[in-house]
Symmetry: C2
Subunit: 188 residues, 2 copies
Amino acid sequence: MRRILPHSKQLLTEMISEGDIVVDATMGNGNDTFFLAQAVGSSGKVYAFDIQQQALDATKERLGKLYSRTELILDSHARIKQYVPDGISAAVFNLGFLPNQNDHAVITKPDTTVQALKAALQLLKPGGVITVAVYDGHPGGPEERDAVLEFVQQLNAKLFQVVRYEVVNQQNHPPFLLIIEKTNRRAR
Amino acid sequence: MRRILPHSKQLLTEMISEGDIVVDATMGNGNDTFFLAQAVGSSGKVYAFDIQQQALDATKERLGKLYSRTELILDSHARIKQYVPDGISAAVFNLGFLPNQNDHAVITKPDTTVQALKAALQLLKPGGVITVAVYDGHPGGPEERDAVLEFVQQLNAKLFQVVRYEVVNQQNHPPFLLIIEKTNRRAR
């Protein structure tokens, strides 16, 4: 069965080659950072962002020997261009809740999410891909979903293809996946 | 770039093995029938449906030597169970306009489309897949789209996974793709 997240991983595995530079825009517990660090090999680099120190600590622990392939950055993903060089081949966004030791919910927000997407698109090399898992079942989720959809729908179809991939016969607001692929063509 | 129809073909190529029985529910000009006839090999069989004799004529012409792998049926796809044995591994629906020599538009219709989908799901073997390309830019299109979506959204998630795959930054009502996969699990 093709679930959303396995589909995302399969796609990324196809798109990422050894030596690539990639971004985990929402580090959280480090699962995606770990996956990406495997994909880029020993000559590649993963830049991973989170605004919580505990995410960096958990991810460093999770990475083990793969830590040397990563830069774990304690800052908003909206400021990605301050840290990441041009020419990335992939970026991964997993929106919604960030893992938190306290019970206070920390969520990604429409403004910074869209800013981060814009910046990541500018860094993306032709043929590169951004995946965005969108959850809208939590308070604030629908607003972020709509802001992200509005942003991606107006992307120039000559420069980007945006695909929405969604399981439609599940209850309880399952996430859907946006796949943004940068074409190899230049704008006229 | 991953367009809708190439994605559909790639998926079907992965799912169909030599010797399989498959269905082209909307024969039209025979492009999908031809593709499916290649996929099932010399020991497989493609059952293809259309309500217009001209579709059968065009498809027979298109198939050439592959014609022997097919049964071209001049009847509504709603009556699929009258012709097709149980245990199909795939069925392809390409909704909307049927090619027509005259300028009178012939389109697939909500009632018979949903009937045909229901019947195809009953014939589908575990692990099998149905793809549905849904066009909604023509008169009658939105009604058919909504009927199909309503039908697939209520399918038991234990028995089927339904994925919607859609390019979201294109104008002019591009089609979207529904992928219905029958699980290997039995209902409780």
